[in-house]
């Protein structure tokens, strides 16, 4: 783990977890981007040998514990979204940054819908359009996170 700076990957993921539970005003809270998903997506695309579906599932499980939802809900959604990236990482790497951002948006929407469907199956929640607001912020955030994490990866020569 120390050999190829895997600790840095873990560190970025922990920061993403913290960002996704950080207290925010109620109006901004609806627009909170999916930090964990976006960071996992970058690492899965860049280093599919290091970060894979199991990592995604564990992060989703931690998110479940942190958010107090039924254990396994976020974990399943996260694993499913990341699976798509892992399967197509060769293709997605070659897309332009805005195409990647759009794919991020689609995956974030999938993630939120899977979480919603599972919750709907377990407790009687009703669908509100503002459950999908984070998709917008996630799309906008992608280029910045992409460049930042690429810089981190090259700087620490994480392989």
């Amino acid at each position: 783990m120390f050999a190829h700076n895997g600790v840095i990957i873990l560190f970025t993921l922990l920061i993403a977890l913290m960002a996704s539970i950080m207290p925010m005003p109620l109006s901004a809270d609806a627009f909170r981007p999916d930090w964990v998903l976006i960071v996992l997506m970058y690492w899965c695309m860049a280093l599919p040998g290091r970060v894979n579906i199991i990592t995604a599932w564990v992060m989703g499980f931690l998110l479940d514990v942190l958010l107090g939802s039924v254990l396994g809900v976020h974990a399943a959604a996260m694993a499913m979204s990341i699976y798509i990236i892992v399967e197509n990482h060769q293709k997605i790497r070659n897309f332009s940054i805005w195409q990647q951002a759009l794919i991020t948006g689609v995956l974030a929407a999938l993630y939120h819908l899977v979480v919603f469907w599972l919750q709907r199956f377990l407790i009687d929640v009703v669908f509100l359009p503002n459950y999908l607001y984070p998709v917008i912020t996630t799309i906008v955030l992608w280029p910045w996170v992409f460049y930042l994490l690429r810089k981190v990866r090259r700087n620490f020569s994480i392989k």
Binding site: I21, P23, L26, G49, W57, L66, A79, M80, Y83, V125
Partner: protein, 299 residues
């Protein structure tokens, strides 16, 4: 290391494996509720993350409390003095009323009200999950918090403890979709059930008959019937009553009394041993309490 030949199981196998794990977890957590004790440990495990995530907010509040003008402090002080005067006067009345109430209750041979202990807690994180309304507070099993403990703020009921960790615990709010509080209308004692709606500012009252006497603006207080919440604390104010008589039941909505979207300091209530006169050792207990009352009066 860029493997040309892949190592380990294929992504499909991994996905099937983790989805199977998720299904098992969901089944055992939701349907069998067999993770209740494990949840406590998990909560303790992640509480450092929650404390860390809370530091920026704490820094901001620290800054805003430390950077005030002298004028502001003086006006606040003035206000607090006035408040204190008011409260003191009410507290004097309260002692006498409590004694009188206890005496009357013992005359009527109805169970005595139990004393209520209070503990102050601070909110350390609010969940961003839109499907559940929960908060995390900075008190845990080490401070004597237990599951199902009622939580209040300065104006009304906020919720109850859901999972207890060692240094932090999770509170489910009254507006959560899976939560309900037994209440009564303060004006006339009509009993209702206040169910959460999933929206932070609305409670729903189901199965209210058309003949019920309920109006917009009525204060709803806890009825103490569920055994979780002590009696008489404000819960909500009725905000909407439909007058459509073709329906079987009246639609009633209310707004929580507590400001649930801007919580900071909370009170945790815990009942001391209830002094029930129907309990076997009534004589000893009763005499001792009356002795205490006497002593207080003497003081």
């Amino acid at each position: 290391m860029n493997p040309i030949f892949k190592h380990g199981p294929s992504p499909q196998h991994r996905l099937v494996l983790v989805l199977f794990c998720s299904a098992l977890l969901i089944f055992f957590d939701h349907k069998m509720a067999s993770f209740e004790s494990v949840r406590g440990y998990l909560q303790s495990l992640v509480s450092p993350l929650q404390y860390l995530a809370n530091t920026p907010k704490q820094f901001m509040t620290w800054a805003s409390t430390n950077l005030t003008t002298r004028g502001q402090l003086m006006t606040e002080n003035q206000q607090y003095r006035l408040n204190e005067l008011d409260f003191h006067e009410e507290a004097m009345q309260l002692v006498i009323l409590k004694q009188e109430n206890a005496r009357l209750r013992s005359l009527l041979s109805s169970p005595l009200r139990s004393e209520i202990k209070k503990m102050v807690a601070e909110v350390i994180s609010v969940d961003s999950d839109p499907y559940s309304l929960q908060i995390v507070i900075n008190r845990g099993a080490g401070d004597g918090v237990y599951e199902g403990q009622p939580v209040l703020d300065s104006v009304g009921i906020v919720g109850q403890i859901l999972h207890v960790g060692q240094t932090s615990s999770r509170v489910i709010l009254i507006t959560d979709i899976s939560h309900a509080v037994p209440v009564r209308v303060q004006r006339n004692g009509l009993r209702l059930l206040a169910s959460g709606s999933g929206q932070i500012d609305r409670l729903i009252h189901n199965f209210v008959p058309q003949s019920a006497d309920i109006k917009t603006g009525d204060l709803l207080v806890t009825s103490g019937l569920g055994g979780k919440y002590p009696e008489g604390y404000p819960v909500a104010k009725v905000s909407f009553v439909s007058n459509n008589e073709s329906r079987e039941f009246v639609r009633v909505f209310s707004t929580p009394a507590a400001q649930i979207d801007r919580l900071r300091y909370l009170l945790l209530l815990s009942e001391k041993e209830p002094q029930n006169i129907f309990a076997p050792k009534t004589h000893g207990k009763n005499s001792s309490t009356s002795d205490k009352v006497q002593a207080k009066v003497a003081n």
